[in-house]
Symmetry: C2
């Protein structure tokens, strides 16, 4: 990688770096270090950047225009082959920051930017801001070198420079960011993050441009949740790996269910705002029941509706002699159920202002519907709702173990049906939560390559003088050589939300679309999956051989390819 080294030297250096790591790296980790990362052909030869038409916004363009006077309307950019190339050999100083939760592949985005500078703008300098946006504000950074970056190639996690959840929001914070940009003489900054972080990236780009700073800002789409995507950004990185890790576990649990014949496994899956992960895992594994939050919300379903649906499937399966099954539940289910939201907001009020008496008289302050729902909930969940408060006194919805709640509610409903003679079997629920184990896995070949291209493209966009774009790599169902590369105007992804009487720009989360190809495919199959056993065990992620380059179903279906 370090181009000043002779070939022999490079090999020696690699060997020494690898041996330094050897005792802390597994054989698979070590083998991934030298996994080759193919680039789209447009990035392998001289290219130029071509602008598209003027852009608008995802909603309320007038407000977005006011919020981004310098950036609104700027075109998206595409890289195209060009014999002359960018024609600039000025050395660059580029910073990079990881923002928010981990997603497999983040290190490869950094490797991609780094290699772009090494390959195309020799003598450039790259800084990694430590611990997320706070690192920018406090000017805490490390200068990246080949030796520093190399051990993280194709590795999971964000531990190269770590991440953080701080935001650059207040005028003082923007001032701090400016000071860092000036101090380090930054030509560019790459912000690797989700919807919020990319909104923040765009605000930074606008601010730097408004202050006539040379520092340009490019975003990269990161989130295992898969809810940051658009026409030009087909997927966020990390989604592929996380889903495949969860699907491996789900497949194993399915085989276990079928072998044992006596357990219903309720699996809650990470992904609070949108149910993409749950949907993708369903498409990979064919569970008996899958709850999609967006459908629950669209149909205004109650917790009772969801419980009845699951119970119906269990009873039908019992008639067929199957007393086992697998049920997928999105982490954010509760957030999608209007009546639960209502109950929680009433509870927050009551707990903030009233005394909760042992006798339960406080419950009379709940509206009728909320009171009924509260009484319908299992005692353990009632307790969680009353006791688990965040520092602001609010219920911590993410701490509610929805899968255990549903097991208890299904148990109660089955008991009722047993009394009515409609159910005669034994029900045994097993709960699972698959979350943290998926955020930091070794990235799949897809995420490895995709991230490297995103990073390389971010380098190219900065090199060409662009700002306020999100790195966009498309045509992903084609071979890597044919992938398209460009940048999408971040303002074009934005809408506004009214908060505290002010308009705030937001990149709208991409929710599961009920008329989208992935959901339609699922909806067309789920009745068969419910009754018949169509379980698929995807197995562990492979880096070589069969399935090692398979794309996920969501991406394939959204790209119009056959999954």
């Amino acid at each position: 990688m370090s181009s000043s080294l002779s070939n022999g030297g490079a090999t020696d250096a690699k060997a020494s770096r690898t041996s330094r790591l050897a005792s802390f790296y597994s054989e698979v980790q070590t083998s991934r270090l030298n996994h080759s990362l193919p680039l789209p052909s447009v990035l392998r030869k001289p290219f130029n950047v071509v602008d598209g038409p003027k852009s608008s916004a995802a909603g309320n363009p007038d407000e977005i225009a006011k919020l981004f006077p310098n950036l609104f309307g700027q075109p998206s950019a595409s890289l195209v082959p060009s014999e002359s190339g960018l024609g600039s050999d000025q050395k660059l100083k580029i910073g990079v920051v990881l923002s928010g939760g981990q997603a497999p592949g983040g290190h490869n985005v950094i490797s991609g930017i780094f290699d772009y500078l090494q390959d195309q703008v020799k003598g450039s300098t790259m800084y990694g801001f430590k611990g997320g946006p706070a690192g920018i504000m406090k000017c805490k950074y490390v200068e990246l070198s080949s030796d520093f970056v190399y051990p993280y190639r194709n590795q999971g996690g964000f531990d190269m420079i770590c991440s953080g959840r701080d935001k650059i929001e207040t005028p003082e914070q923007f001032k701090q960011a400016e000071e860092t940009a000036l101090k380090l003489d930054l030509d560019g900054l790459v912000v690797i993050g989700g919807d919020d972080s990319n909104t923040n990236a765009c605000l930074l780009a606008e601010n730097f441009r408004g202050k006539n700073l040379k520092t340009r800002v490019i975003g990269c789409p990161k989130t295992i949740d898969g809810d940051l995507k658009s026409k030009e950004v087909p997927t966020s990185f990390g989604f592929d790996t996380a889903c495949k890790i969860y699907a491996e576990m789900i497949g194993n649990v399915m085989t276990d269910a079928r072998s044992t014949g006596k357990y219903y496994h309720f699996v809650r899956l990470m992904g609070r705002a949108a149910s993409h992960i749950t949907l993708e895992c369903a498409l990979q594994t064919h569970p008996n029941v899958t709850i999609i939050g967006e459908e629950v919300a669209a149909k205004k379903q109650t917790l009772k509706n969801v419980t009845d649906y699951i119970t119906d499937v269990i009873c039908k399966r019992a008639e067929l002699g199957y007393n086992y099954g697998v049920i997928l539940i999105p982490e954010g289910l509760i957030d999608f159920i209007p009546e639960v939201q209502q109950l929680i907001s009433e509870l927050n009020e009551i707990l903030a202002h009233d005394v909760v008496d042992e006798a339960g008289l406080w419950k009379k302050k709940l509206r009728d519907q909320s009171h009924q729902l509260f009484d319908f909930l299992p005692p353990a969940i009632q307790e969680q709702l009353m006791l688990e408060r965040d520092p602001h006194g609010n219920v911590q919805v993410a701490k509610i173990e929805t899968e255990k709640m549903l097991i208890q509610m299904v148990e109660t409903e089955l008991e009722k049906r047993r009394q009515e003679g409609a159910y005669k079997e034994q029900f045994k629920g097993q709960s699972h939560f698959f979350g943290y184990e998926g955020r930091c896995g070794l990235p799949t070949n897809f995420d490895s390559t995709y991230c490297y291209a995103l990073g390389y493209a971010a380098g190219a966009l900065l090199h060409s003088g662009k700002t306020g774009l999100i790195s966009s790599v498309g045509n992903l169902s084609a071979p890597v050589e044919e992938w398209t590369v460009g940048g999408t105007a971040l303002t074009s992804l934005m809408d506004v939300e009214r908060r505290h009487g002010k308009f705030k720009p937001v990149i709208k989360k991409a929710m599961v679309e009920l008329d989208g190809a992935p959901f339609r495919k699922f909806a067309s199959m789920r009745d068969e999956w419910a009754i018949k056993n169509r379980y698929i065990n995807p197995g562990p992620i492979q880096f070589n051989g069969p399935a090692s380059n398979a794309l996920n179903h969501t991406l394939l279906l959204e790209l119009g390819a056959q999954a």
Copy 2:
């Protein structure tokens, strides 16, 4: 496989079987179907069976001799190359049964027996008893054919014929087994199971021999827990795969911990009787704290000791600036702590005979030490101890979420130290239980090959007329060709336990030995792992390329090889 087919025909048949499966098998599952299974060279050529010296028992040989008058003292057997071979071409009728919990590789044991018969005793018949030992007693079986067996090659789970936990114990049940053996004219039966099931297999062998039935019985060592092993049986199958699946998840959680820098992950691992899984996972991943049940028991530690040890590490790490970590806990921890056992037995008594009053007066019936311990436990665990009873009214220890209990106890202890000024940081615990997802994964290359050899050997032992042996494949750190093959006298693994005034034969569970190489290696490293971050991420199980043929640490260390 079916040797009557021409080569072309075999390929066509394979293709048709594969296409029949294609829609329910993932790409990895499909690719595993044709993964080749090398055999030890002694099984690939004509061989004979040579007896060793007369055997004894693991303990109380006189009692074992009384319990097994027909089998006690019989020698273990070894397969050795021999030009003449076994010299028997009489067709065989062989039954197979899966007993107890799932372990990856069970299907390959069946494939191995099946292929042995196809290859070496043409025209033989094989029956799979359905749903475990109950299938023998009820004579519920399926006749196995190439087409039936093929789709399960190298696949996880026990779903080919399923398993069960029934035992053949009473005279009536032995009678039923005899009737089945006579009805199907069985020459042999292979029992694939853990310590209990293999004890049962030996009782069956003794019974059949005593009744002058021709039916011989061979056992196979199965359990992910790794606690069925001896000098001649180096490991039970499934342990390798399950540990590697858990280690993948632990490695991911470690990378997450290091990247986020703010969570302590408490990971409970399946394996109730022994802590082999926890120890192996520790050797693979290098966690900050690992609790080994056998050590806790040997040192007569209390729950407070365990809590203090974890808290000490957390405080030391805080001083070094690390407010994150990973802690492994064996599922059976509570069973290893004498004071907890005492409390549980007192609770069982009280709950069976006394009224539990709201005011807590019942607690006065506890002994002082138990009373103190009960008050020391977090309320949620107190509640579990009071409410979660099995049908016999006993506490369901397996349902106690030890990892959550420890998080709460560590929280309390840290709060105490905070008040004393000895701890100043934020502690955030995250709980995990890795269990079911490891029992039915696709078997590793090691488990695939090992199981196939175990099955093939079981076929050979039955063919040579042996009974009451457990299939034994050794020299596992050498290349597969050099693996040794034989059978170990089941009575030689046995001791007696006194139950209800009678001696009962048992194969003693192989516990983690505190002076064994795996524990010693761990003990020599754990202080370094506690303070420094030596995390290793083993990554997902690979079937091709790097690490795909790696042996686990426990096996390597016990075989005296370098892990």
